[in-house]
């Protein structure tokens, strides 16, 4: 049966000879082959250089700044008045502004994000998840400038209806909106952690007659705890570094206070203020922005390292 379509009939082609002839092109490609790892290595080096660039620029200019303003005065000063005749550079007002806005954001984002995650992971049907998840993704994809606009033109006026004495620029409104912005991130990271809890663990508890809520409280959340904590920490990191919402909606008063109805400046908003103010390169105020950026960088880096450490522990559990 084979004889009919046996290759005998076809034209004899000497592929080997042809390949031998093409050797010259192979020489070129072999050279390329040796160069490419080095090209890719130097491309990869860009990320390392970026890190180095960030650290070096922040460090050198910060050191400059500390030569003018003693580091201790800066870190413990409660007054920040760089434009005064006798300027004062205390960073605590900025830190309090940053911490307060982040706390407000987390008060909004942590419970709502976590409850959303519980609903999606434990209660919602496939259909509901299929609709809700993309909506949350859209929410996460909205640029922060849009949230800033929303805080300034909608949330602040709305809050002022209920809270008499709320200033037009205040830290409460941007804090809340920042929280809304972070909800999708916490929801999706926590949901990932909860979904990766093996079903066997749930079934064991359900078989004993537990309700879903009890299973969630006693089995799922404990098992996914480090993942959930990591999502919170990343949320905090995100809030600390958020710029546009607070810049637009919280004004630029360098208040060292805990009154959320007032205007407060965050570290990020201070950097924006200094750079948009066209500070002369070399002036003290110009150097101060690096010192502030350095603190911000260290804060967020710390959060990210913690989050990674916590979630790595979580992976080891199963």
């Amino acid at each position: 049966m084979k004889k009919n379509n046996h290759p005998t009939k076809t034209n004899p082609l000497n592929v080997k000879e042809l390949i031998e002839k093409g050797k010259k092109t192979r020489k070129v490609s072999q050279k390329l082959e040796k160069i490419i790892p080095f090209i890719l290595l130097s491309i990869t080096a860009v990320s390392v250089l970026t890190t180095l660039g960030i650290i070096l620029t922040l460090l050198t200019e910060t050191i400059h700044f500390f030569n003018i303003i003693p580091i201790w005065d800066f870190l413990t000063g409660t007054v920040l008045k760089p434009l005064n005749k006798v300027p004062e550079y205390g960073v605590l007002p900025l830190i309090s502004g940053t911490v307060i806005s982040s706390v407000i954001a987390m008060i909004v984002a942590a419970p709502i994000g976590l409850m959303t995650a519980i609903y999606l992971s434990e209660y919602a049907s496939e259909k509901v998840s299929l609709v809700v998840k993309p909506i949350l993704e859209v929410l996460a994809g909205i640029p922060s400038i849009v949230y800033g606009f929303f805080a300034f033109t909608f949330v602040t006026p709305l809050l002022r209806e209920f809270i008499p004495g709320l200033e037009a620029a205040n830290i409460l409104s941007p804090g809340i909106v920042m929280g809304i912005m972070i909800i999708p991130m916490i929801a999706s990271l926590s949901e990932d952690a909860m979904s990766s809890v093996p079903d066997i663990m749930r079934e064991g508890a359900l078989a004993l007659g537990s309700t879903k809520l009890e299973v969630t409280k006693r089995v799922v959340i404990p098992a996914a705890l480090s993942g959930i904590i990591a999502s919170f920490v990343l949320g905090i990191s995100r809030a600390l570094g958020e710029t546009m919402i607070v810049t637009i909606a919280s004004g630029s008063t360098k208040n060292f206070s805990f009154d959320v109805t007032q205007s407060m400046q965050t570290m990020t908003a201070y950097i924006v203020e200094v750079t948009s103010g066209d500070a002369a390169s070399g002036s003290t105020i110009y150097y101060s922005l690096y010192a502030v950026a350095m603190i911000l960088f260290i804060f967020t880096l710390l959060m990210n390292v913690i989050a990674r450490y916590v979630s790595r522990k979580f992976r080891e559990e199963y």
């Binding site: 005998t8 076809t10 592929v15 390949i19 093409g22 192979r26």
Partner: protein, 280 residues
Amino acid sequence: MSTLTAKRLNIETKLSDDLSKGLRPVEKVKKMIYETNQLHIWYGETHAIKGIDLPVYEKEVVAIIGPSGCGKSTYLKTLNRMVELVPDVRISGKVAYNGKSIFDESYDVEELRLRVGMVFQKPNPFPKSIYENVAYGPRIHGIRNKGVLDEIVEQSLRKAYIWDEVKDRLDTSAYSLSGGQQQRLCIARCLAIEPEVILMDEPTSALDPKSTFKIEELIRELKETYSIIIVTHNMQQAARISDKTAFFLDGELIEYNETNNIFNNPSDSRTEDYILGRFG
């Protein structure tokens, strides 16, 4: 025998063909293509191959059998140095192809893989058209002429007995083929660069009996032209298609002999146990 193959064979092998009809001492005349001496391979801490010596002669089908994890696939992948893709692998000992040690610094791996084709356990066509799958090898080795490529593609598909099934749809995706067809396409892809040796790593283990039969037919046909080293799980398959059989166990070569001898008169009790299905 095709004019093509005739052209490729030198007089020496023709002589040996004649000899093989009458006399038995074929090995003396046949050229040794693979020589393995004291080969050891480690994956990290695992000692996967423990000192193997194994000669392979031209135009033979050598079957390698043994239970899972015995090192047979590892050995096969060593022959074209694919084993080096595994991270943490260490190799000692010697493997020579056509008299040259393949682990030498100066040895050109791509050249080796050009001469030694490989067919894998699972059909693994590229996510490209049928035509592009076969043309891939010649193309990367510098053949750009469309007419030549057309011819190579047709010829290779014919040799793999799949031409009639695909000739009308060369531009469709290789994934539109059945598993058995995909495996024959992979064989065609391998033949397109006219290798001297074909390594087959359990080529039918993922296929149904009908496709398996077709591939075995094909192997019998191919051994006229190529040396074939085939790893198989299936002892009947080894018995059906191979000239010689090597039995591996725990990284060691227990026995290597004419297939007839291995199956009818094994010299090692472990070989016998395995063949009779006492383990594995």
